[in-house]
């Protein structure tokens, strides 16, 4: 009974909001730019049938995946290896990397390369900072114990430091992924010829608000699924380390 009422309360506001949106929209009481949920789903079906959706989805996905992998790999390597860039990083961290978009667009063109570079650039910093903090906060006792038992430096790095740093690394990955989607959206809206952001900006120009919301819906879902995928990977890799921590609450 209690569980049932809790689930009902959980669903109450979203369902009520959707119902109000649909009825008010259908009655014409809302401004036109808000469209209605059914019209949005119809528009989604329309671009899914013409295949437009999947081309855009593929372009956006490719950009975000490539940029994220390159940026996090670079940030992790640099952060784990050394802290030589520290003051530089804390200065560059505060700058929205989108500010470099105009330069990158000129340098690399309107295609994939400029977006991948910008996303990689944005992902680099949170991962760099997280991995640096992670390495510094690995319990020294573990390292000493491994040394005592005669483990070579390489084994210490891969078997002690990396697992010890992994929870914080994942926190960095998660921030980087969120940055990646924000940057992807801005880049596709400002200068691009393909992708979900481009669908949204075209739909705006054509005054097709249902299409605009369909694009927004896809983009939001993509970001949400990306985050869940990352959490699932972390859950598998770090199962033992998260027992009894606040992270379990957040799942």
């Amino acid at each position: 009974m209690r569980v049932a009422s809790r689930t009902m309360q959980n669903w109450l506001l979203p369902v009520a909001a959707l119902a109000a949106w649909e009825t008010l929209g259908a009655a014409g009481a809302l401004p036109r730019y808000l469209s209605t949920p059914t019209a949005i789903l119809a528009a989604l079906w329309e671009i899914a049938r013409t295949g437009e959706l999947f081309t855009a989805l593929a372009a956006s996905l490719y950009r975000v995946a490539a940029g994220f992998v390159l940026g996090t790999a670079g940030g992790m390597l640099a952060g784990l290896a050394a802290g030589i860039f520290d003051p530089l990083v804390s200065f560059l961290y505060a700058i929205p990397k989108v500010a470099f978009l105009p330069v990158l667009l000129l340098l690399l063109g309107l295609g994939h390369a400029s977006k991948i570079a910008l996303i990689g650039f944005s992902c680099f910093f949170p991962v760099f900072i997280a991995s640096r903090h992670a390495v510094l906060s690995v319990n020294k006792l573990f390292v000493w114990a491994a040394q005592n038992m005669g483990a070579p430096p390489r084994a210490i790095f891969f078997r002690v430091i990396i697992p010890g740093a992994a929870p914080q690394l994942f926190a960095g990955f998660r921030i980087a992924l969120a940055h990646a989607f924000v940057v992807l959206f801005a880049a596709e809206l400002i200068g691009s010829k393909a992708g979900l952001g481009t669908i949204i900006s075209y739909a705006e120009e054509w005054v097709r608000f249902d299409l605009m919301f369909a694009g927004i819906l896809c983009f939001a879902t993509l970001g949400f699924l990306g985050d869940r995928l990352l959490l699932a990977i972390r859950w598998r890799l770090l199962k033992g380390q998260m027992l009894g921590t606040e992270e379990l609450l957040r799942q």
């Binding site: 401004p31 700058i95 500010a99 340098l107 970001g223």
Partner: protein
């Protein structure tokens, strides 16, 4: 102070800061050797001149003040709304059940996708930027503060109740101080976000602000001004972060040494 101490201090500050002059040197060398087109990446001296000129004639200061005031307004509104709201979520099961899915499922959704809708509702100028910054800052503040308020140790509350403290006193004197570190970590996540989203939304469409400044000067192929604006954004971001840390130092005085 002995010579050894001075020498070690110099060498340690050298070790901390040498990467910035090193980068400037590499930059200068790359431009001078013609490796990079100086049109896209002007020499450091050119950028410096642009920075001085544009600050001197007031352009950068004007745009920066617009950007910073938008970011701070959105951030302040999100703080004022978010902290009481997260208290309500942490202390009341009804509020928690009603809003938990909105905040926890909505958290990883890239909210920037909703910006076009915001421009229709609030117009293209300052209100839509502030409203959007509010939304972007609200999520990290509410989620972080909520966990902070929930993880207050129950025995602290029990002992306060034992001493006869009322609900408001417990909230003000026990729960709020205990959650203060989490509140500040939420604010510290939200503050750079506010600057970032204001600049991004200004780049997407506006006629004032640092984001607009960057867009307009890059379409004029005048990249020295673009880099000057990027430097100004970095300085603003660092200054705001330092200011927040200073406030945190006063508010969470018992953790001063740790951060």
């Amino acid at each position: 102070m002995s010579a050894g101490v001075i020498a070690s201090r110099i060498s340690s500050s050298f070790a901390r800061w040498y990467s910035i002059p090193l980068l400037l040197l590499i930059w200068q060398a790359a431009v001078a050797s013609g490796l990079l087109q100086s049109r896209l990446l002007p020499a450091p001296g050119t950028v410096w001149t642009a920075l001085i000129d544009e600050t001197g004639n007031g352009a950068l200061i004007h745009h920066a003040s617009v950007t910073v005031s938008r970011a701070l307004t959105g951030f302040a509104l999100a703080t004022l709304a978010g902290i009481p709201f997260s208290v309500a979520m942490a202390r009341s099961a009804l509020v928690r059940n009603l809003f938990e899915p909105i905040f926890f499922i909505g958290y990883p959704i890239p909210k920037i996708a909703l910006f076009p809708v915001f421009t229709y509702i609030f117009g293209i100028g300052t209100p839509s930027k502030i409203a959007f910054t509010f939304l972007e800052c609200l999520y990290p503040i509410v989620v972080t503060c909520y966990f902070g308020f929930r993880s207050v140790q129950t025995r602290l509350i029990w002992s306060a109740q034992n001493c006869g403290a009322g609900r408001m006193t417990i909230l003000r004197r026990v729960i709020l101080p205990a959650a203060m570190p989490s509140i500040f970590s939420g604010l510290r996540i939200a503050l750079p976000i506010s600057i970032i989203v204001v600049v991004i939304t200004e780049m997407i469409g506006d006629s004032v602000g640092l984001g607009y400044y960057i867009t307009i000067w890059s379409t004029r192929f005048h990249f020295a001004n673009v880099y000057a604006a990027i430097i100004v954004i970095g300085i603003c971001g660092m200054a705001l972060d330092q200011a927040l840390l200073a406030v945190r130092c006063r508010a969470v005085y018992w953790q001063r040494g740790e951060s």
